[in-house]
Amino acid sequence: MSEVVRVAPIPPGRSRSARLALLRAVFQHRLASVGLGIIAVLCFIAVFAPLLAPYSPYDQDLYKVLAPPSAAHWLGTDNLGRDLFSRLLYGARVSLFVGIVSSALSAALGVAIGLVAGFNGGVIDAIIMRVTDAFLCFPPLIFILAMSAALGPGLQNVMLSFALFGWTGFARITRGQVLQIRELPFIEAARAIGMSPYWIMRRHILPNAVAPILVAITITVGTAILIETGVSFLGLGVQPPTASWGKELRIGFTYLETAPLFSLAPGLMISLAVVAFNFVGDGLRDALDPRLRGAGLVRR
């Protein structure tokens, strides 16, 4: 999220073909295509969890507490006798939902702030950038934890806290893009024909600044999943009995010696999801980086 994304703006008029070229570059990037594959599978699992799961994630069987893997329960059962495999499938819903909504919220906030700062410049820009710098001093996880604790447990509060601390990267990237784009002749032309600043931002600047924001969103989804599971692991976030990877991992950790899969399997799912989004983000960045383009580094 805070990593530097060096991306050239897509030239106006060629945006459709440029986007197609970008998609092609991402698919040619081996790690990115692996990431896309994993994300597709996870989305499928999240959407069709009720059809794929052999049991309800809430059905308890207290006679089969912490059962080892078997034909009936592929990954065994948890401490309340619930089917672990079914709970993992349902857990994908929570993580992907939080990941996508949190990063969309922080992107919306950050892009709006970055646009205003970059387009106006001067005092407004200086003030906004100092505030952004202040927010960048906060290790996000610690502040999200503190905010979630202050607001009380629950997914909504985690997402809200994430948006409050996750917008800075987007604001910086957007501002950087706007500073480049606003000097281009077509913006001057738009001003000359009397377009309002709002319309110039919406119609001309934003569409041309989309590419690096996309990279940041992809990486932020992974970060948000990591933070949601981390917050749930420490006891805030999702509340029982909702199935969540972070929560399962935490409870499973207590039974590590007797039922290792109880904590290892949810952790694997979290890692897979985060790695997949980072692979795609990495591929997108390579595909968009003007320094790497054509340097033989894109096809990895």
């Binding site: 100092r130 001093c137 934890l145 950790f253 010696e257 890692s271």
Partner: protein, 318 residues
């Protein structure tokens, strides 16, 4: 140079002021107020007189701006208040736990350097090979997998399946150096792999950039062996980002320490922070947030000044 340092210092002070406001605001967000939250479950909280007395004692009956000014004044003077949970002096709590967390950070940094530099160099030298792809994937995995899961997997493998190291616990170095190192082996490794992955990626791209420079071509053209070119001319300038990445990853390490110290039962600053957050022990929570932010701020400031010293263009632009 002095002007540049002055400007950076002023920026940092403005940011610090904003940080203190934000930290104060977070504590205010606790529904009801912090004392009510801390007293939840306590029979006395139903006694209005007791609640009023405690609120007066902590200054919570004052207007919000006064509360902020008093809190800031005390904080700057080193009076960080007393913990609501334990009744200890907060500054003493910090000083007591700081060496433990610093030991964890020092060990983690050693692991990060030991993993990150060789992997980054090999990745750059064997660019686009199968080995490079494997290492790149490895570094992304190292950066991506959550510290808490990595810790659990390693505890399962090295403490449960093959009992080589203790699963958790802390023994002070002064008490038993060998047992201390054995107990810190896993926590430092878990904390170091994330920075190691990050470092490897920066070293790889930095070295690749250096290897594309004209003077490297000149070195090759004058007949130096590839080994001499790399060792004598490329590695040194390629290592510039190492200090930056290590410095900047300390902020991330602090967040990682929150998990690592909880999982491995290490009584450091991270565990204290988590406990404070959960007990809504707001004097400890506020102090933790300020110290964490101050740490990042100071590291950023040093990196900025170092860059200004190393690269005159940065000074001029600022």
């Amino acid at each position: 140079m002095f002007r540049y340092i002055g400007v950076r210092l002023m920026h940092s002070l403005v940011i610090l002021a904003l940080v203190t406001v934000l930290v104060f605001v977070i504590a205010q967000l606790i529904p009801g107020d912090a004392i009510m939250a801390a007293m939840a479950g306590n029979v006395d909280m139903h006694d209005a007189q007791v609640v009023a007395r405690v609120r007066h004692q902590f200054g919570l009956d004052q207007p919000i701006l006064v509360q902020f000014a008093v809190w800031l004044q005390h904080f700057v003077r080193g009076d960080w208040g007393t913990s609501i949970g334990t009744g200890e002096n907060v500054l003493q709590m910090f000083l007591h736990r700081l060496p433990i967390t610093l030991e964890l950070f020092f060990g983690a940094t050693l692991w990060a350097v030991a993993i990150g530099i060789p992997v980054g160099i090999v990745g750059a030298l064997k660019r686009n090979s199968a080995l490079d792809m494997f290492l790149t994937a490895g570094t992304i995995v190292g950066v991506s997998i959550p510290a808490f899961w990595e810790a659990i997997v390693l505890i399962y493998l090295l403490a449960v399946v093959f009992p080589i190291v203790p699963p958790s616990g802390y023994i002070p170095f002064g008490e038993h150096p060998l047992l201390n190192l054995r107990a810190m082996l896993l926590p430092t490794f878990v904390l170091g792999t994330h920075s190691g992955g990050l470092l490897a990626r920066y070293v790889r791209s930095s070295l690749l950039e250096v290897l594309g420079q004209d003077y490297i071509r000149t070195a090759r053209a004058k007949g130096l062996s590839e080994r001499a070119v790399v060792v004598r001319h490329a590695i040194k300038p390629g290592m510039i980002p190492v200090v930056t990445v290590i410095g900047l990853s300390w902020g991330g390490m602090l967040a990682g320490a929150f998990f690592v110290e909880v999982i491995f039962a290490i009584p450091g600053l991270g565990r204290m922070g988590v406990e404070a957050i959960f007990q809504r022990d707001f004097p400890v929570m506020q102090a933790t947030l300020i110290v964490v932010s101050l740490n990042v701020l100071l590291v950023n400031l040093s990196v900025d000044i170092l860059y200004g010293y190393l690269d005159p263009r940065v000074r001029v632009r600022a």
